[in-house]
């Protein structure tokens, strides 16, 4: 009778690959301790009346006692008007800002990529917001402090245009009021727009630099104009970065501390109402998650594999 002996011998390569586990081990430990565990706890808070410094007599009795089901979510969505108002504010803010930031940073990157006098200085200035934009600083510069206002809201922007009233000029042009109102919103937010596009400009710039010269040569030989070159050569090569920027901007806009919903959640934390706060945050991020998944699905054919696989 033939006895088949199965010896498990990993090939050298497979053994080599096992070393990968060791390399990521510190990260995994950190992930479990400082990310996954807190996240699950936060999820628990949103479904219960638990607090962070509760005394735990026994795990299961604690879970049973504090569980309140979707009561927190009900309260936040149906009873408390603040959340829904803030949500509408945040989402409309998001829808306005996302395309403008992406387009603005694309234009900035294209301009900064060209050769002109003072290019280094221009780049340095454009990247300043990345270095400086801390929540504290932005709060002071924008006059948007929580408790008291150093400058009246919007005064910052108005001060920039004291010599020249854009709004008047637009109305005089005879455009329909809906359009001027929209443009006014955009103009008043220029400060915030420009200061939030720093990282995206860097990413686009890096993407532009990675486009090989050969493509441009072909375009030149074939007699393409600058406009055509942009749309047929540059833009398609930027698809990866474009998707990355859109996703990054989504996340940035949702997690920004001056966001109405996050402000509400944070003020609840300060009042020790952790559960409602958790419910608010999880609802908000469920929305963000849905948007991100939708984006990834829309763009899945266009993302070249090497970024994420």
């Amino acid at each position: 009778m033939k006895v088949k002996l199965k010896t498990v011998r990993l090939s050298r390569e497979a053994r080599q690959n096992m070393n990968g586990y060791w390399f990521v081990l510190p990260w995994v430990i950190g992930f479990l301790t400082f990310f996954l565990l807190p996240m699950l706890e936060s999820l628990w808070y949103s479904f219960s009346a638990a607090g962070p410094l509760d005394e735990m007599e026994g795990l299961f009795s604690y879970l049973k006692e504090t569980f309140t089901g979707i009561q927190n979510y009900n309260h936040v969505w149906k009873e408390d008007p603040n959340f829904t108002n803030n949500l509408v504010d945040s989402l409309s803010h998001f829808v306005f800002f996302l395309p403008i930031i992406v387009i603005l940073s694309l234009i900035s990157a294209v301009v900064l990529n060209q050769k002109f006098h003072g290019r280094m200085l221009a780049r340095a200035i454009f990247f300043l917001p990345v270095i400086i934009a801390s929540g504290v600083v932005m709060g002071y510069l924008n006059g948007d402090s929580n408790a008291q206002q150093l400058l009246q809201p919007g005064q910052q922007n108005e001060a920039m245009y004291t010599s020249f009233s854009f709004a008047d000029m637009l109305t005089n042009l005879g455009l329909p009021t809906a359009v001027t109102a929209q443009l006014n919103t955009y103009i008043a937010s220029i400060f915030s727009l420009v200061w939030s596009s720093g990282v995206q400009t860097i990413l686009f710039l890096a993407g532009l630099q990675s486009i090989s010269e050969q493509y441009y040569e072909v375009a030149r030989v074939e007699g393409g104009t600058a406009w055509e070159t942009f749309w047929y050569v540059t833009f398609p090569m930027l698809t990866n970065v474009l998707v990355l920027n859109i996703i990054y901007t989504c996340i940035d806009l949702f997690t920004d501390t001056s966001n109405a919903v996050m402000k509400q959640a944070y003020s609840l934390i300060e009042k020790n109402e952790y559960n409602t706060s958790a419910a608010i945050m999880w609802s908000f991020f469920a929305i963000l998650g849905t948007i991100l998944i939708a984006l990834l699905l829309i763009f899945r054919k266009r993302i070249s594999r090497n970024s994420f696989s």
Binding site: M18, F34, V130, L150
Partner: protein, 310 residues
């Protein structure tokens, strides 16, 4: 002839557009900073004076003196620099390890774990800080201290709050500020390195870690620089966790955030102490701007060369 004229005028128009664009955006960026600097050099009386908008009639450093004393500038800057440097080094180490693991080794669950890495970038801190706070309050070193307590009952769990270790522990384990992004950067970079060097090292009998330490890290100075700059800046600017985890010892961001309340507590009307607050902002921002100015060229070259994107 017509086409030439058209081309020439388009290119001139474009140069004008480009100049206008750059000046416009540059203005929006620089305006608040210049405004802050100018306000910070004015005395209280000048602030109120409506005829003075940009240039103070005489320059005074009094606001800076006030801001520095409120923020305890000497101690704070030393404390913050120390926290920032140590955390950044720890983070560079742990994230490069993870990045290399993801880049060069194909192990089971790699894809899923990397998705988790991206998840840490997406989920915001606000969701986690409260729980992290209570974890730090009663930290048992992953139950090690619980075991130690069996033998030496007086040993208590660590309360890490208000110490720099609230930053060091996560940083050393790949959970520092925006660490997921750093892991991504390292992974992309390591993937773009040619494998020959590492293979040569293996043939010569190096272990994986030795190869990483002796061969890969030296070739990755560019990636390390980029990560260093980004990480240092983000740690310096870190607002949420510094206000949550610290109380007595104050990192710079916390000191600046408190400035507003300290000034108010001294009974000064806020609108008339803009100069002190702006001085505080300038004091906060300057070290990072200086560092950036020094490293700027290498940083930008690093981004361009590292094959980060696409």
């Amino acid at each position: 002839m017509n086409k030439l004229v058209w081309r020439k005028s388009v290119s001139i128009l474009y140069s004008l557009f480009r100049a206008a664009f750059l000046i416009g955006i540059g203005y929006v960026i620089l305006f608040p900073l210049l405004y802050a600097i100018s306000s910070s050099l004015m005395s209280n009386a000048q602030l109120q004076d409506p005829s003075i908008v940009w240039l103070p009639k005489f320059v005074t450093l009094q606001p800076y003196a006030s801001a520095m004393s409120y923020m305890d500038y000497g101690n704070t800057i030393w404390y913050t620099v120390r926290i920032m440097l140590i955390s950044t080094v720890l983070q560079m180490f742990s994230c490069s390890l993870a990045g290399y693991g993801f880049a060069r080794f194909e192990f089971r669950g790699r894809g899923l774990l990397f998705v988790m890495v991206l998840l840490t970038v997406i989920v915001p801190q606000q969701l986690l800080v409260v729980q992290q706070y209570s974890a730090f309050h009663d930290f048992s070193l992953w139950k090690i201290l619980d075991i130690v307590r069996l033998f030496a009952p007086e040993v208590e769990n660590l309360n890490l709050l208000d110490t720099e270790f609230t930053y060091y522990f996560p940083a050393a384990l790949g959970q520092g500020v925006r660490a997921g992004l750093m892991v991504y950067i390292f992974r992309q970079f390591f993937k773009s390195l040619p494998k020959e060097l590492e293979e040569a090292a293996y043939i010569d009998g190096c272990s994986s870690f030795k190869t990483f330490w002796k061969i890969v890290i030296p070739s990755a100075s560019v990636a390390f620089l980029v990560v260093f700059v980004l990480s240092a800046v983000w740690y310096w600017n870190e607002n949420l966790s510094s206000s949550m985890f610290f109380d007595e010892s104050t990192p710079m961001a916390l000191a600046l955030a408190r400035l507003r309340y300290q000034v108010a507590a001294d009974g000064m009307d806020l609108s008339s102490v803009r100069n002190v607050i702006m001085a505080g902002v300038v004091l906060f921002v300057t070290p990072m701007v200086l560092m950036y100015a020094a490293l700027q060229r290498y940083f930008i070259q690093g981004i361009e060369r590292s094959g980060l994107v696409g």
